[in-house]
Symmetry: C2
């Protein structure tokens, strides 16, 4: 085995694919079933334990991935040299681009068990190839967005900063910052996320900067001279009380903020607030960071904290780093003849992995007060009272992306969708899905 | 905020960086401390709860990232337009490349609390910039490798296949397959991992392939005609007993393997083995997949299973998706004068985040039987009996990568390093680190 020494990035999205997708393709091309029209749905059988709703995130990245799903020469050489597929399949792959349709819940929307968050329609060949890349994106991004949503609900109106890049894969981190933004975060420390997605970025200094200097005062002075008095000074390298005093001496009472990154944050926030006020720095804000999760954030609700920085627990989905989405064939034509009927299909063996066959519509039923009351899925005609409440929107039509939108739209949609859920949705305690899923 | 519509991949590794690294750089360039010689160490304060050892993985990727850490024009434009750093800092970044030294535990080696798995030496400016990208890689890859190592120990000699791409970010998945290989896995289903790192790949068919066909027999026939009778047929779409009978009828007793992906795997493996034997397919193997972790693998030790496929629990670190590594300034010169002494430094405030200052050597002490007995770290002279047992090796010298090696070497090293640990290292039950960390 040799290390191919290729660049860190892979030139297209076409190899974010499990080998079995290509071997299925090869066998289906050979026996003529590859062109049968098919419907695949992406959904989850359950929410992570105790969670009350899921958050759709990654949809925009799926659209990029579908567009970038082309096999280049180096990739085809790899498949040939490894003998992964035969000649006719390689030829087919060389000309491949997706020509089918994708519908889905718009990004930022909430979802429940069974919700068809994406539906992919086209030939078996073109749909089966997208399985892994779609699941990678939706499982990762939706897991992070769900954690972000719980944290932003717990934070009330206080801003949250995503700081988890160091705790996850370097490109996972970029997608995590994006998903956190959808879920309600205000900014990220990750420059690549700012570069790639335009998310606001922020950041000031670490303990190393203080330790580099001959004194804390030297470090604070250097930072204020470089970044202005509006900067955030990190005050817990040595003694917090002394650091706060020095900080205000150096920057004056117009100091932007101080950051606490260790210790009993509840106690410290109160003490530091009092000290800042006594020093006349009434507008100086307090930023807290240090292994926060939604519970720690909630526990600081009554503390004089202005901003939360969250790392590890955000990028790892706060205990649920993936959300068990699957990508299943739910219907296929009985032949490749034009007009051949669509047959609902589903795995039938026992063992808890069965699913519901058929191409599904999905709608959210409201109660009299306008709150969401049920997630309704069906394969037949849509009842009249739900026709206006259908959730999926067209994202790709005949291979062309038509559902792209600014990330801000997904972020705004999430706030709105969450606000329309029953109030118990944002309880942090463990519970059941806040809406029942009904099949019609 | 606009979506910049740049490619999925980021052109260099230089923006896998928290903004505060650049703001610290700017302030340090301004006050003259940027050139102070510094020593940073990457280590973890503790192992994840219950774990007995850690596994170093990602080192090879860190070397790629250090080489690729250059700011290109688009990235510099972004920093300028956002006003993230000032003009002199932008100029400095435009010419940046790392000229320092990196030492580290070789990839695949085991580690314990405090082990300096990487040590980065150079000016403050050049070392501080690498913090986030180094931590992202080491935290992610080592977490996956640790889970892989536990699973491979539980599997005994049976091969393990990595199948988790769909459960994690698409590029995380590539790194996870690499880390799993270091930790003892035999192959991956992820084509991008095969392409990028040369890891063996494998894969046959999903339930969708059976459902696409008019009958299970049609599907099996198509697969065998396409891939030969050595293929693996998935037998749990409808009725397992019937599927196994059909599989052997279609492929003959020379059928390569059958795969079980749901249900009570222990019970099913015994039943299917018996059925295969009765049908004369004594050499047909049984592959099991379906939310396996190290405990499920161990529970199948006495079952007639030949190969395990592992997804979710592998790529999410089996409950510990990150391993809490930090990157800390441990020593710095008192000035930029040549020959200025190195001063050990460490955060001192209370709150549980303190660390041990000083540039450390690290060695593993053996007992009389040649088993590892302690992880010994120190800042002074190395005791004679440990001089031959030093763990860190040179990886980068004066900015040039000198520690690159084939991935196979890391994989072999891990097997050897784990075998030298006390026997309780591979117990699955929760416990303490199997070696004590001693500071001299």
């Amino acid at each position: 085995m040799t290390d191919l020494r290729l660049p860190v990035s892979v030139p297209s999205t076409a190899l974010f694919t499990d080998q079995y997708e290509l071997t299925m393709l090869q066998a289906a091309l050979r026996d003529g079933t590859a062109d049968r029209p098919c419907v695949f749905e992406c959904f989850t059988r359950r929410l992570p334990e105790g969670r009350r709703y899921g958050v759709v995130a990654g949809t925009g990245r799926v659209l990029d991935a579908v567009e970038g799903f082309r096999f280049d020469a180096a990739q085809l050489d790899f498949l040939r040299e490894r003998g992964i597929v035969d000649g006719p399949t390689l030829e087919w792959l060389a000309g491949f681009r997706f020509h089918g349709d994708v519908w889905g819940y718009p990004e930022g929307e909430v979802y429940f068990p069974g919700s068809p968050v994406l539906r992919v329609e086209g030939s078996f060949a073109e749909c089966v190839l997208l399985e892994t890349v779609i699941l990678s994106i939706m499982n990762h991004d939706s897991a992070v967005a769900a954690a972000a949503s719980r944290m932003s609900a717990a934070a009330g109106g206080r801003p949250l900063i995503e700081m988890g890049a160091r705790r996850t894969h370097e490109l996972s981190a970029v997608a995590a910052a994006r998903a956190a933004y959808v879920g309600g975060f205000a900014a990220t420390s990750d420059l690549a996320a700012g570069f790639r997605y335009g998310i606001p970025t922020t950041g000031t200094a670490a303990h190393a900067f203080t330790l580099l200097h001959d004194s804390e005062r030297d470090a604070f002075t250097a930072q204020v001279e470089s970044m202005g008095r509006g900067t955030t000074l990190l005050v817990d390298t040595y003694d917090v009380r002394e650091a706060v005093r020095t900080a205000v001496e150096v920057a004056g009472p117009g100091l932007g903020a101080v950051r606490l990154d260790s210790g009993d944050l509840l106690l410290m926030a109160h003490r530091v607030r009092q000290q800042l006020d006594e020093l006349g720095a009434r507008d100086t804000k307090i930023v807290v960071t240090s292994d926060l999760d939604e519970y720690a954030i909630a526990s600081l609700a009554a503390a004089p904290v202005d901003t939360y920085g969250v790392g590890t627990q955000l990028v790892t989905g706060s205990g649920h780093p993936t959300c068990s989405m699957v990508y299943k064939l739910v219907a296929r034509a009985t032949s490749t003849e034009p007009g051949a009927p669509l047959l609902p299909v589903a795995k039938r063996s026992t063992g808890g992995k069965s699913s519901v066959g058929g191409r599904k519509w999905a709608a959210r039923r409201l109660d009299e007060d306008g709150f969401a009351a049920a997630e309704v899925l069906g394969t037949g005609e849509v009842p009249k009272d739900l026709a206006e409440r259908l959730l999926p929107v067209p994202l790709v039509r005949a291979g062309s992306v038509i559902g792209r939108e600014p990330l801000e739209a997904a972020r705004a949609r999430h706030i709105e969708a969450r606000a329309a859920l029953p109030l118990s949705a944002t309880q942090l305690s463990r519970g059941e899905a806040v809406l029942p899923t009904e099949y019609l």
